[in-house]
Symmetry: C2
Subunit: 494 residues, 2 copies
């Protein structure tokens, strides 16, 4: 591999401002390096693209912007949303089919979830699990009872969404689909270690501290390479068969979040690395791709565990309930942030109050009666009282006619003192990452605004709009990143 | 003007699939026509761009896809959202300042409204009104008391948003800003007649039945022309100073709505013409532009007039109120569709029930008591009763502690029979158009994914993301279409 160490300045090049992120092949007088497939970004999607491309016989370079591989995947809980009857599901005693998985995802991952991605994802989920397991990722045959994420155990399977609660338990037969690498801590890191090892084992050439500054486009519109910058200067990398963009989302780009998904700005905790600044998406846009559902995001309100707290009730700033409290934390976050203006409370009594494990919470108010609590948190007189009266009346009979919370959490709130945990985005912890991105087809090809695939350009993971357009469940990002990463790698290598 | 009547087939050209919507200048061997500024689309934004460009000395062609000019603007109510103390506001006895207008818009047109567009819009609103009036658009010096749109009178000024109601009346000093061309019917058509006449008077060349199939891009990234198709074949139009895209939104493109703004699909009534299929936006994307806030839309639930109905209460499918009923119909539609899953009721009693004027409505249920009505529409027993009890208790004192409806509409619902007007998107009439589109700066320049302006490309109107990213008030589309259309035309002609 020869590297041209001259570092052309912008002034010397023919590049105008507008060509940032994109260069024309005809303006390039040499290539520094050539490979078959160039992968941009080395998280789970990039790793899987690289493995598949290399195993298909392609020479592969993975250019990673940071000091080493892993990306957000390595920082995550490592969950992979898989099902349809995987060997792990069966070993843990759960039945599942691709059809039930499809029904859940089409109901949850909307509005208007993308059937063209979800269909193949469900159909090939069993095989995908085997593929990952074969790369040496261990999964313990044990079910985590408490839902949703085993923060303190190495259990292998969990309900990682709202499959088992209203309204989804009436739409599809519930099955746990969160597949978790076996480790008490650093599960995402474990997953990535094995995927990185697989890529290295397949002979992939990895470059760290190497950023993609532009895609190179031939006169017929094909993406034929990229400009990769590092401390050593700019390298023009010819990618004979294609470039795969797997460079993460844009939660760390405040301007892009403001332009596309302003509600996510209210979330204090960003799930990602600083390199989740949307560069992969902007590279795609610069060559005429579409970025879709850019308003979407996963928003987690991680009050639980402890599950005892689910016996409390979510109320908005009008003192009204708005969601069954046994729903997945991403659903709670989404409903509160998107539909309740990021404001509300979890009302608890002395029996069910236990401090959340993950975050410090503020009690916005405490009262010996609901009326006292209502006044303390400045709700209109009578508003919270009538909500709690109504809830208690039915809960005493094990019923929740409005939101259908499961009966294991249905207990009247009757033991003083009563408290209100503040859910205001200003005072509470919402964790967010972006779900919008480049539009791809099921082969991981990036689509042009005309609807056609852009020759030579592929993408996967949070650089794309994937299986969850909204209504996220844990494991869907590593799920579609690895799944469509593999497909993009295979397709590029063809 | 010479027209090349040969119609090159796709097979004969060098064009690959991917180049649809975009062609490279080097692949073109001749131009059929040349002008300084090419305007794509002849609604209000295109007309204003053409006038300003021509008056600045440019030769201008306007290519309109349909059989004649006018577009959605001509079908509309003709309202223009203007303020800051226009001569019409003052003549009608209202005080307003650019600062108060700015405060309202920054609070209403969010989340994260674009200060870089709203700032100049408010600052130059007085001048913009004078400019439009000088083009011969008549405005009667009379105020329409009833808010929001004078469907049966030729009054000149109205509250066309929620300036005068909660929460905006506490944020900025209310002033009516809907400026309405003087006509009982066809107000939008009147506006467009005058703007079209102004364009023709300025010497603009207009082509009907002429669609823009592609933008032509020079090797340095500049947009230098366009491919215009008509019955006569394809014409290559050189635009020496620039192309202005004013081709409407995408509410008539079901696929784009599904990809970008799926909730809008639930709306039965589309506000637009069939040419609002997003072509202008896709042309921009194909040359590397950004399209932002593509999820946004105006959603009107036009239950009022009659204003008597505002004495009813909006409740969702849990029997809870969610909005002050004196808010603008766009706010009611947005809240119901986006935050209540497009489901709910307007609960009325016999005193306030009058049939809406604009649409047929279904009564989902009727009852001699609220309990009976509650059962009739299958709400949980006690849910609607406690909501109405709470509402009535405060309304009797002229108070609405939850949503702060104005006291003129605060009357207990106490005269049987009681009824529920169905607001379900399946059974009711929601009117929608898209608000997302190309990202522009205040000069109407289209911005590339890199953040720089794309040389030679300009846009305005619903092809762009404008002053209202959400939280629309009537008149904002003709408002920003005409305002930034003028700026785009001037800038292009430079």
């Amino acid at each position: 591999m020869e590297i041209d160490r001259r570092r052309p300045s912008v002034e010397n090049s023919q590049m105008t401002d507008i060509e940032f992120l994109r260069r024309e092949e005809r303006d390039i007088d040499h290539w520094d390096v050539a490979c078959d497939v160039l992968v941009v970004g080395f998280g789970c999607a990039g790793a899987c693209a690289a493995v598949e491309a290399a195993e298909a016989g392609a020479s592969v370079i993975v250019a990673e912007r940071s000091g080493g591989p892993g990306g957000t995947s390595a920082l995550s809980g490592g969950l992979i949303y898989l099902g349809g009857g995987t060997s792990l599901q069966r070993a843990c005693g759960f039945e599942d089919t691709p059809g039930e998985m499809f029904k859940y995802m089409m109901a949850a991952c909307g509005p208007d979830p993308d059937e063209s991605l979800i269909g193949p994802y469900c159909e090939h989920s069993i095989e995908h699990f085997e593929w990952i397991a074969k790369r040496g990722v261990p999964f313990k045959t044990s079910f985590f009872e408490a839902a949703h994420e085993p923060f303190h155990s190495d259990d292998g399977l969990t309900f990682s969404g709202s499959e088992h609660v209203h309204p989804f338990n009436e739409i599809a037969t519930p099955a746990p689909r969160g597949h978790i690498p076996q480790s008490v801590r650093n599960k995402g890191s474990l997953l990535m270690q094995r995927l990185i090892a697989a890529a290295e084992g397949a002979g992939v050439d990895t470059w760290n501290q190497s950023r993609c500054d532009a895609l190179v486009v031939a006169s017929d519109g094909r993406v034929v390479g990229a400009v990769i910058s590092s401390f050593e200067g700019e390298r023009l990398v010819r990618a004979k068969r294609g470039v795969v963009l797997t460079a993460g989302g844009f939660i760390y780009n405040d301007e892009m979040v403001a332009r596309y998904a302003p509600l996510l700005r209210k979330c204090k905790h960003k799930v990602g690395t600083e390199n989740d600044d949307g560069l992969g998406i902007r590279l795609g846009l610069a060559v005429g791709a579409e970025a879709i559902r850019m308003d979407a995001g996963d928003v987690s309100l991680a009050l639980f565990p402890p599950n005892e707290l689910r016996k409390g009730i979510f109320v908005n700033r009008y003192g009204q309930r708005y969601l069954n409290e046994d729903a997945y934390m991403g659903r709670a976050g989404e409903f509160t942030l998107f539909h309740q203006d990021g404001r509300g409370y979890l009302i608890v009594d002395d029996d069910c109050f236990v401090r959340p494990e993950l975050f410090e919470v503020e009690l916005a108010g405490v009262g010996e009666t609901i009326a006292e609590l209502e006044a303390e948190i400045s709700l209109a007189t009578g508003s919270l009282q009538s909500t709690v009266d109504f809830y208690n009346r039915y809960a005493a009979r094990g019923d929740d006619p409005l939101f259908h919370k499961g009966e294991n959490y249905l207990t009247p709130l009757s033991t003083p003192p009563f408290g209100a945990i503040d859910l205001d985005a200003e005072n509470s912890i919402y964790s967010a990452f972006t779900l919008g991105g480049l539009r791809i087809n099921a082969d991981g090809e990036v689509l042009h605004a005309s609807g056609n695939a852009i020759p030579g350009l592929f993408a996967a993971g949070r650089t794309t709009s994937g299986i969850a357009k909204q209504g996220y469940s844990s494991g869907m990002s590593i799920g579609d990143g690895t799944f469509f990463g593999r497909r993009a790698g295979r397709r590029a290598a063809r």
